[in-house]
């Protein structure tokens, strides 16, 4: 009997020796917060911070916000609980906001239609007041100065365009500000990625807004305007001064340039091939009946470079409206009238082609144009009823060089402000403009995968980073963003946070039908 125990003991010892052990076992103790204190992390910003993707905030989409992903890594080194505005009511994960026009359900790719569209169903997200400050204070649509605007969360202001429905959902009072709610949590660490909307909304709207440079009163700005650099600098400094007022450390981030966002880079300026135009005969017909005579008249008017005959061998540029061109409507009307066109037709041609030209490589055609090109504008007679071919795309579908220049000037100015503030306050700078610019040539992660700024395609199911709205990252993209911020934190605050591998995060939702 005694022997048996000895055998068992020997056996047990044998099994114990069999447990594999690393020389240095990876545990949470291997990581450190460095000089930072992640006890209470608060994120301020706009849609990019809120976890907005596929055109909305949804329950599951929000769970992939970059602040949420960061907080999971902070938790390894003492980070506390991280709360986000409640989307519990979004039971079916549709996103959108119930009853508000323009706040559609999340975009999905309908495989039967081959295009993104809002997922079928009715949003169950309401404006019911949660009256609570959350660690994630990202408010979709917010511009820099909105974070300081009292009443931005006042339900009564929504209909008047003075309040933001997303902030209405969680503002602690009708008169509070986003920043005040954020500060009520007494952050020890913050991220601040605000400012994109101060210029990007103008770009998304195709430059139909106004560049408010010189106008110091943001109360007079419309949604799609570019913020005055002075207004931006002042708002930005106030926001950061407030965030650091309690001794918090943090990361502030620059805003990306339009050229690294697929919304602006996906549709080429010259997608019109002979096949897409309907074949060789159609191209010849267009040249004889429209492009030829138009080119002739424009040449006589000294503006022959506005338009060239369609080529049967190369991709042809889209016809667009350029509001910076001299309006030749009267001259065109006169020319076509004298050429024997009925007066009404000649007048119509003049009105439509007065500021028309073919797009060039220096124009940016916006993503929604892809579903517009080739379709018929309302109440336009043939043969002028083909968008981009016989009827120019309008201002809101295209960014022309002068608009791009304004956007770049504003973006550079805002980013210079952000960099100066980072230096002045000793804060870590996540240069998201530079990081996202890497996507244009390819951003290679530690695992060897190379990501780029392309719009979704079925060949890139596992590597697409942008959501179907073409502006916001998808879950995988936010993981890339979070990982880049971690690198910045590790560097600036001597921290050692575990990295995030974006390859494991989901891409777009594809449904066989909708």
């Amino acid at each position: 009997m005694k022997n048996k125990f000895i055998y068992l003991a020997v056996l047990a010892a044998g099994f114990a020796a069999c447990e594999p052990e690393f020389e240095n076992e990876v545990t949470n103790a291997d990581y450190s917060a460095g000089d930072a204190d992640f006890t209470t992390y608060v994120a301020v910003g706009n849609s990019l911070t809120a976890g907005y993707m596929d055109g909305t905030v949804s329950r599951i989409g929000q769970s992939y916000s970059y602040p949420s992903l960061l907080a999971q890594q902070f938790a390894v080194v003492g980070g506390g609980a991280f709360t986000q505005p409640s989307y519990e009511e979004d039971v079916n994960n549709l996103g959108g906001i119930s009853g508000l026009p323009g706040f559609n359900t999340r975009l999905i790719l309908d495989a039967s239609a081959g295009a993104p569209e809002p997922i079928a169903g009715t949003s169950t997200v309401t404006l019911a007041a949660q009256a609570k400050a959350y660690n994630n204070m990202g408010v979709p649509g917010a511009k820099s100065y909105h974070l300081l605007a009292a009443g931005y969360g006042n339900a009564a202001g929504v209909a008047l365009g003075q309040a933001n429905p997303y902030f209405v959902r969680h503002a602690t009072s009708a008169s509070t500000t986003v920043l005040a709610d954020a500060m009520s949590l007494n952050p020890t660490f913050f991220t601040n990625w605000i400012g994109s909307n101060d210029v990007l909304l103008y770009a998304i709207a195709g430059g139909t807004g106004v560049n408010q440079a010189g106008n110091q009163n943001p109360a007079t700005y419309a949604q799609n305007d570019i913020t005055d650099p002075g207004v931006f600098a002042s708002a930005y400094s106030t926001i950061v001064n407030t965030l650091v007022s309690g001794g918090a450390k943090g990361v502030i981030a620059t805003i990306p340039n339009v050229t690294s966002i697929p919304y602006f880079t996906t549709v080429p300026f010259n997608p019109l091939t002979t096949a897409s135009l309907g074949g060789s005969a159609t191209v010849q017909q267009l040249n004889t009946s429209l492009y030829g005579p138009m080119k002739q008249v424009l040449t006589l008017l000294g503006q022959g470079d506005r338009l060239n005959l369609l080529s049967e061998t190369e991709g042809n540029p889209i016809l667009i409206t350029d509001e910076t061109l001299t309006n030749l409507a009267p001259q065109l009307t006169a020319a076509f009238t004298s050429a024997g066109y009925p007066p009404a037709t000649a007048a119509f041609i003049g009105s439509v082609y007065g500021q028309a030209r073919q797009a060039t490589a220096t124009d940016l055609i916006l993503l929604p144009a892809s579903s517009l090109i080739g379709t018929a504008p309302a109440n336009v007679p043939a043969p002028f009823n083909v968008y981009g071919v016989t009827y120019p795309l309008q201002d809101g579908s295209v960014l022309i060089p002068s608009e791009i220049a304004m956007i770049n000037t504003a973006t550079n100015s805002f980013n210079n402000t952000i960099k100066q503030v980072a230096t002045a306050k000793g804060l870590a700078l996540a240069d998201m403009n530079a990081i996202l610019a890497q996507l244009v040539t390819g951003l290679t992660t530690d695992d060897g995968q190379t990501y780029n700024a392309g719009y979704f395609s079925t060949a890139r199911l596992s590597t697409a980073l942008f959501s179907l709205d073409g502006v916001h990252p998808n879950a995988r993209g936010y993981a890339v963003v979070a990982n880049e911020i971690i690198k910045v934190i590790n560097m600036h605050y001597n921290a050692k946070l575990p990295a995030i591998n974006a390859g494991y995060y989901p891409g777009p939702t594809i449904l066989p039908s909708n």
Partner: protein, 406 residues
């Protein structure tokens, strides 16, 4: 029977060196050792020199294989514990003075690794269970007291079951990761084994044995997809698959020396021709894209040392050591066979209940250094993606056997 079948995860590739209790205890040497019917596996030629007319040996091991994985960059940790029971049965009969016949049944290949479903390396493997049982009718011919030859055909029956996630990120609408199981049972193949033994002087034996490559050709196995999103159900439909899994050829040469009539030492060198395992290619019957998984194994050698001491008629004590080189090359370290070079420490004893019947005990402890390695050939949207970290294995295997001879 399934429970008895080889199932393990250790040693080079998916080779399991546990083919005899006596010889395992001696570092799994045996190509030049004439001890028992186990010699049918190690070198059939040696059966010609077995002292008794009838020899029977059978045994099995409890195989405890554990692997730990960690990656400090991402704060990943994981582990897998696997248990298997490789077994062997050998019988030989000396029909005439010069002719010995025998039958050997053993399980030299097998791999069972079960990671947590959806773990970090799940796009490479969630779990694998590979089994192969060898049945080898054998003849040994004693040319004279100095030289013998032996060999026989090998019939292999095996099965494979393998599950992995389709990609690193694909899920169904509920967020469950999409995965595929390939399963093939009753896969059979033929091969052969041959060897010779040369005894230049009394007390010294030299042996050489060659076991042929055998390719397990799984045909019309079942590929079953789970948790697919609706849009992908057209691309990935349950179907049949074909795959070839090579069980490489192995050449062994060795020597044993009886230093005294009680004390024997042995040395073996194995070379396993693993280079045949170039890639695991799974082709599907319907339009499902062919899955090519580069392996690029290299030939790998093993150095084995063993000794046996028989103080009396009742007991025999054995010990051994070996160095087992992994066929897995840097950058091809896949978690389905996460094996690097190892050192085996073995021991055991036989208790002879009576002159005919003995009980064999053996144990093996395989030591692996921890290793930093990765698999760099997973293809994602046309780019190669790496998965790796630090791996540490340990293997412990006690074994028990019976020997009966007269």
């Amino acid at each position: 029977m399934m429970a008895l079948a080889a199932s393990s995860a250790f040693a080079g590739g998916y080779r399991v060196s546990l083919q005899g209790q006596k010889q395992l205890a001696m570092g799994h040497t045996g190509v030049a050792v004439v001890n028992s019917a186990e010699v049918l596996f190690f070198n059939p030629a040696g059966a010609a020199y077995l002292k008794d007319r009838f020899n029977f040996s059978a045994g099995a091991n409890g195989l405890f294989a554990k692997t730990k994985f960690q990656n400090e960059t991402y704060n990943w940790t994981n582990s897998t514990d696997n248990f298997g029971t490789p077994f062997e049965v050998y019988a030989s009969y000396r029909a005439t003075d010069w002719l010995t016949v025998g039958l050997a049944v053993y399980s030299p290949y097998g791999s069972a690794v079960e990671w947590d479903q959806d773990w970090q390396g799940s796009h490479l493997v969630n779990n694998i269970d590979l089994q192969a049982i060898y049945i080898q009718p054998t003849v040994a011919i004693k040319v004279n007291d100095r030289f013998s030859v032996g060999g026989g055909p090998i019939f292999v029956t095996g099965s494979v079951n393998f599950n992995r996630n389709l990609t690193r990120s694909l899920t169904d609408e509920q967020g469950n990761r999409s995965d595929v199981t390939v399963d093939a049972k009753g896969v059979t193949a033929w091969g052969w084994d041959a060897g010779f033994m040369f005894n230049p002087i009394d007390g010294v034996r030299l042996g050489v044995n060659y076991r042929s490559e055998i390719t397990m050709e799984a045909r019309d196995g079942d590929a079953t997809f789970h948790d697919l999103p609706a849009f992908a159900q057209g691309t990935y439909q349950n179907t049949q698959f074909d795959a070839d899994l090579p069980l490489p050829a192995e050449l062994t040469a060795g020597i044993s020396v009886e230093i005294t009539d009680k004390w024997l030492v042995a040395f073996d060198y194995n070379m396993a021709f693993w280079h045949v395992y170039d890639a695991l290619t799974i082709s599907f019957a319907n339009g499902t894209p062919t899955s090519v998984n580069p392996r690029n194994y290299k030939d790998a050698g093993t150095y084995r040392f063993g000794t046996q001491f028989k103080p009396n008629e009742k007991f025999a004590f054995r010990a051994g050591w070996y160095f087992d080189e992994s066929p897995v090359q840097d950058g091809y370290f896949a978690p389905e066979t996460p094996r690097n070079d190892s050192m085996g420490f073995t021991g055991g004893l036989t208790y002879q209940i009576n002159p005919k019947l003995g009980i064999d005990f053996s144990f093996l402890y395989l030591h692996f250094d921890e290793t930093n390695n990765s698999y760099n050939y997973y293809s994602e949207d046309g780019s190669l993606v790496s998965f790796g970290g630090t791996y540490k294995n340990t293997v412990f295997s006690p074994g028990l056997g019976l020997t009966y001879s007269f």
